[in-house]
Structure formats: C-alpha cells, structure tokens
Symmetry: D3
Subunit: 162 residues, 6 copies
C-alpha cells in the first residue's frame, strides 16, 4: 500500500505544483465550515443595518476569495470553479459559515472551499471588530469532499477521519 505523504513534494523532496496532466477531468465538490464566535451583544448588533448587511458583504468576500485561491496558496493548481456558494447560520454563540465549491477539473476544490469560509470569517471579524476585539474564528475544517481518485470524504472527528 502506498503510504500517504505530505502534498506537493516531488521525489527529490522539493516542493512543486504536482503534475496532474495525466489525471482524468472529473466532477468534484467540497464543503468547508468555519465558526465566528462572538458575544451576545455583537450578535444583537448585526441585523441593525438595512443596507450592507455584514453577512452579505462577507458572502461576496468569500466567493471572490475562492476565485483567488491559487494566488494565495502557493502550490495550489488554478481551477475554473463551476460553482461557489457561501451560507450563514446564526446561533447563540456566533455565526456558522459553510462554503460549497464545485469544478470539473483534474484536481479537487478543497482549498477553494476552505479559503472561502476563511475570508468570509475574516470579513465578519473586520466588520464587527469595533464592537469587540476578542471575536474569534474557530474550527475551520473540511466537511465533505467528492470526486477524484480518493473518492468521498465526510468529516467525523479528527482522530478517526484519516
């Protein structure tokens, strides 16, 4: 069995954008999640803005960032995204962010979904930081991944998820 190894390294041990030329083009998707923890008074302040809801600004920022993933993550391949969506769910402790990315390509869109939730979360932080500088971004992880040779992944817990 081939032992898993760090990504993006060639046989000499040097980093590279690994060669995916021979991989088939296939339909792929990924869903990532982040959580922005904030105290109740910040959550209460969120809906008081008719124009420019902070979550709508964050949604645009997350979608735009997904398209810049290969410019931000040095060894990521450039991918033509066929779909990006960013969703929010408020609860008593903050805002849960999920992002879905899809492509038809030779490699997957995990990093695109992870980048979308991260930049959406940073944008929410940016728009609420005047209220409380201790707002924290927590638990950025992959929820699901489909397509490609490694097949479908669905997150359980960190230790069991290999």
């Amino acid at each position: 069995m081939k032992k898993p190894k760090l990504s993006h390294y060639d046989d000499s041990g040097a980093v590279s954008m690994v060669d995916v030329s021979a991989k088939p083009v296939s339909s792929r998707s990924a869903i990532a999640r982040a959580y922005v923890a904030m105290p109740p008074d910040v959550i209460a302040a969120l809906p008081h803005n008719k124009k420019g809801d902070p979550l709508e600004v964050a949604r645009i920022a997350g979608i735009s960032a997904a398209k810049k993933t290969a410019d931000l993550i040095p060894l990521c391949h450039q991918l033509p995204l066929s779909h990006v969506a960013v969703e929010f769910r408020l609860d008593a402790g903050g805002i849960e962010i999920t992002a879905t990315a899809r492509t038809v390509a030779q490699t997957g869109v995990e990093m695109e979904a992870m980048t979308a939730v991260s930049i959406a979360a940073l944008t929410i932080y940016d728009m609420t930081k005047a209220l409380n500088k201790a707002i924290e971004i927590r638990e950025i992880h992959l929820l699901e991944k489909t397509g490609g040779k490694s097949g479908t992944f669905r997150r359980k817990s960190m230790s069991s998820a290999k």
Copy 2:
C-alpha cells in the same frame, strides 16, 4: 460616551471605506494568532522534508497574503506595511502561528496580521491534507494591537476584552 457600532458604515447605513483623511499618520502594530490542530502522526511527518519545509512555505504565503489584505477584505484600507513576520511553535497538538504587522499610516493593521495567520494556516492545511483531511484551524484571534486613537489592546478572554 459614543456607543461603539459596526465598522465601515456611514450615517445612511451604507457600507463604505470609511474616511480616514483627517486622522494623523502614526506608528501602529498588531499581532494575531492561529492554531492548526493535527494528530501526532502528521506532526511527526513534518520535519522529514529537507527542501521546502512546509512551515517555510506557509511563512512565505502568510507574508505575501498580508500584502493582499485590502484585495481580500472588501472595506479594508490599502496600507504600506513596514514589517511583517510570521512565527511557528510546534507543540503536542499542532502548530501555533503568530504574525506581527507594522505600518506608519492613518489606520491600523489588525486585518493584515489576521490575514497573515489565516493564510499561513490554510497553507499548512494544504500541505498536510493528504495525511489527514480532518486537520482543523482553530482560534484565529488578535493578541495585541498598538497605536491609533483606541490605543493598546491585549487579549484576555472574549467576554472581558471589549
């Protein structure tokens, strides 16, 4: 006393890049932190790469991303950064990332430091995800901020930190 409100809104309730023309130029700094939680076998795999240590790739990615902050966060001002550094500390559960940003400008560098740790963390995720897809980015927050009208902030806990 002026009540704190969401950032980046004008009096009509619309978002804008707020006017800092009248603010004095001053020396400002910010330190942010992130944590990448990973199981012991992933941590053990990290130092086995002589060329292109994943943490060195992440350091470059974090520094580069700090310079792109205004392009990623819609309402951020463009700032000429006078210093960016990204540091790593390994412990039994993963990697702690801290980033320091400095400028001499009319507004602060919180978002630049927050962006640097976030993209450094995403890069570590990208380079280790083949080993375990459940690696998680946790606790992205501001540790310290100096300069500007609001003065020095040092993080305590979320509830007391306003």
Copy 3:
C-alpha cells in the same frame, strides 16, 4: 414558460456563483461597444504622439482587463479566454470602441467583452483628461452574443431587445 429572473441568485434568494457544472462546454463569443465623447480639440491632439499612441495603450488595457473580469465582477465565473480583440474607430464626436471575446467553456463571455470596452474607455479618458475633464464615456452595451442555451443575441433597441 420559465420566467426570467435576476442572475446569480439561488432558490433561497442568496447570491452565489451559480452552478454551471452540468452545462456542456461550447464555443461562445460576445461583442461589446463603448463610446468616448470628446470635443474636437481633444480628437485633434490624439495623433500627435509617435510613441505610445493613447489608443494602443487603451487596447492593451482593455485586453488585460478582459482577463481580470472574474476578479472585478463578484459573481462572474473564471473563463479561459481563447480570443480578445479591441478595435477603435474615430469619428467627429469621439472614439467608438468594440471588443470581441471568445471562449470554449460552460458559460458565456458577455462580461469579458463589456469589461474590455469599459477599461479601454477609462484608459482613453485617463490619457486625455489633462486636455478636458468633461470627456464622457457613453453607451456601453452588448452588440452581439453567440453560443450557449440562450443562443444568438443581436442588439436592436433597449425596449425590444429582451
């Protein structure tokens, strides 16, 4: 019959980069047009520059901008353009700009052609504004579009063009 609706919205009413994964790859083109209105003395000043004709600078700016469309228009898909050309025609009142864009992809290139003429027009404005600040960019619209499910469009007038 399916009623036309605003672009880029999902069923919940949220904006997204809509899913084109299931659409077939096909050959598509678009032609857009803009007009830069300028007084006769500005038009007369244009050809007096042997090196760096302002229209040639604008041509490069328009072609380059077409490649940045997905970075400028938040919900646009990234497209590998297979052709971009920008043409100019001087008349007594100013400069007519047309741009042609082509791709072989799952979605169309309208916005790429529209962006090319707009940035070419802004570049002409930038290079002539010292002569007359009242130069105006007028009538940016789509002239023609081919390919895709909606088929060929050729501009008539605004009211009849649905």
Copy 4:
C-alpha cells in the same frame, strides 16, 4: 502659458508613469457618476431580493475596484485611498451611481472614482442581464475634483468644462 497636453507622456513622446516625486502631498477628492439605463420591468425586479440586493453587490464591487485602479489603468499611480463610497439613486429610467474617492497623496483620485462607478455599473449589468440584454451604461463622467495644483473642477457641459 503652458499648453495642456496629453497626460503620461515624457519629452521624447514616450508614455511613462510621470514623475510626481517633487509634488507636495495634499488632500484630494473626486466624485464620478455613471447611469445604468434599464426598462421599467427590470427596475421593478430589483427590490424582490431580500438577501444580496444587486445594488449592495455593486457597491462592494465598486469599492473593491477603486483599490485596483493602478492595476487596471496602465499609467495610473498607486494611491493609498483614505475613503471610497458608492451611492445609488433609482429613477424611472434606471440607476444613477456616484462614487467619491479621497486620498492624501502627490496625485489625484479622478481615475479611482471613475473606476468605482464603472465597475459598479458593470456589476449591475451582470446581475440584471438575464432580464434584458439591452441594458446600457451611459454617461460616465467626472462630477467634481478638489485639491492639487489644478484646483477645484465642477462639471458643467463638455464644451465649456476645460
């Protein structure tokens, strides 16, 4: 009297990013305007979206684009913008867009305000084009400019505005 000439040319007739090293840093502003003409049924369709109002997406796009001006317009200087705002006004024939930009720098922000209204207009076009492809962007021009050696400009008509 020094005769006005095309911008961005040096004495040999070659284009360059002209030398502003010796110019004093001063406070500068610019206001630009664009108009998106659309038939009544498109205007009627605009407010039917609770999440992601097309005008709010366009506002973010315009503000973000202002920060990219020097990357879009080849001979523009890079400027740290101290303020950008984009406003909309609906009337019976379409949407009027105005953008205000401010800086404290050695050169002015005309192109930043012009770029903001242009990209905001293109974004509105992008979000409404499914309803009517003949929507047209009209009358992009400078309304006002303050600061710098040339002083204040306020638009009258094209011929008298030199």
Copy 5:
C-alpha cells in the same frame, strides 16, 4: 510556405490575444533556464541560513509567478497549469535555474516557464543584493518545448535555432 511573423498581431496589424478557439486541446510542456551570476563570497553566504533558504523562497516565487503569467504578459492566454517545478544547481559562478511547466490546453506554456525562471532569479537577486549589488541575471532562454502544431523544440544556439 507560410512565413513566420511576429506573434499576437491580427491581419490589420493590431495586437490582439489571438484566436485559439479552433485549436485542439493537447498536452504541452516547456522548460526554461536562467542563470544568476554572483561572486564566490555571495555563493558562500547562501547556505548559512537554516530557516528560509533563499533558494526555497525563490522556488515558491517562481511557481507563484508562473500562475500569474497572463497577468504580466499582455497578450498571453490564461492557462490552467497542470504542473510547475523550479530547480536550482549551484556552480562556481552562481546558480542555474530551470523551470518546467505543463498544461493540457489550446496553447503552449513557454511564457509560463520563462516567467517562472525570471521571477525566481529576481527573488535570488533580492535576497542577496545586500551582499553585492552587481549580481547579474544572465541567459534567460527556452530549453525545450513539446506539444502543439509546431512540435518539439530543443535549444541549440541562437542562430541555428529557428
């Protein structure tokens, strides 16, 4: 026989991003080379840095730059790179850099490989320039190219290589 002519010109003599819509998608590769000449004391100083080896920083810069080629070279097509690698070889006079780029696309990756070695070389210059400002980048050229209608090219000498 069709006489070779300058690239990127249409029949009217204007530059354009030439139309490759009708060209078949095929596998293509290119290898480029650059040399950074530096005196012996600079070469001796290179390996004294445990963290952040200058060559590893240059490798990341070269790979990242390959992905930005269409944004740097005005008439280049955007290409989804399927592989980029940058290699270094030290000798007594300096550092030889080679970059390999691959794609499956309608046009070739010469410029991507050329851009990768150039930016990697500039990064080495940037990191060593405090030691000696006379370090020089030399002999940036294409070593090999495969795929496409023109077939395989392997560099001999300048005069014979047509």
Copy 6:
C-alpha cells in the same frame, strides 16, 4: 564594522519583511538594465507593425509590472511609485532596455526597476518568439541607485561593485 548579510532575515534566521518603521522617508531612485539578444532577421521584422509596436506593448508591460513588484517578490515592501519609465535602444544584436523607478518612501526601488526591465524583456520575447525561439534575455542588472542609508551606487563590474 557591520558585516553585510543576506537580506530579509531576522535574528533567528527566519525570513521576514524586515522592519523599516524607524527609517526616515526619503527620495529614492533606481535604474536597471536588460538586453534581449536576437538575430538580425528578428530585429528587421520589428518595425513592420504600424499599430501595436512590440516595444510599446513591452513598455506598458514593464511599467505595469513595476507596480506589481511586491506581489511578485515575496519579501519586498509595498511602495507607492512616484515615477516609472522604460526606454529601449536598438543595436545590431538586439534591444537594450532600461527602466527608471522613483519613490519617496522608507525603502528603495531597486526591485521595481529590475522587475520592470525583466517583464519588458519577457514581453519582447513573447512577441518575437514565433520568429526565433532562441532569442535570449541577457544581463539584467542594476545600473544605479540613489537615496537611503547606503547612498549612491553606480555599476562598474561584478567583482568590484560591492
């Protein structure tokens, strides 16, 4: 005497964007040079294009690239350039390119001038490569640098230029 060391390293040996917060703002300039060697028939083909002279396209590309330097070279500071010019001189063996960059800032513009000549040279290569793939970019180096603590540098030869 302080021994010169590699740039961009902190005391722990890690790379960083070094802290220039305490350095005074001063006027700085740099001039860099590159040479594109090409056989006589390629040189003869150059002026046959009325529209879109390849050198004018290269000039725009070089000026635009100077503004992207901090995005290309990982540890470069962002600088507001106050002037960029790119000049060409044809001789019997090819084209000599010189670029001048100026700023009023806390750090110098060497890399901006070096980047401008490099990308201008790559653009000339791109536009002539259909004629002869063996065209070579040679001798990219700094000619002159003024301002800053290290004062004026003028290139002599590599060994004596420290």
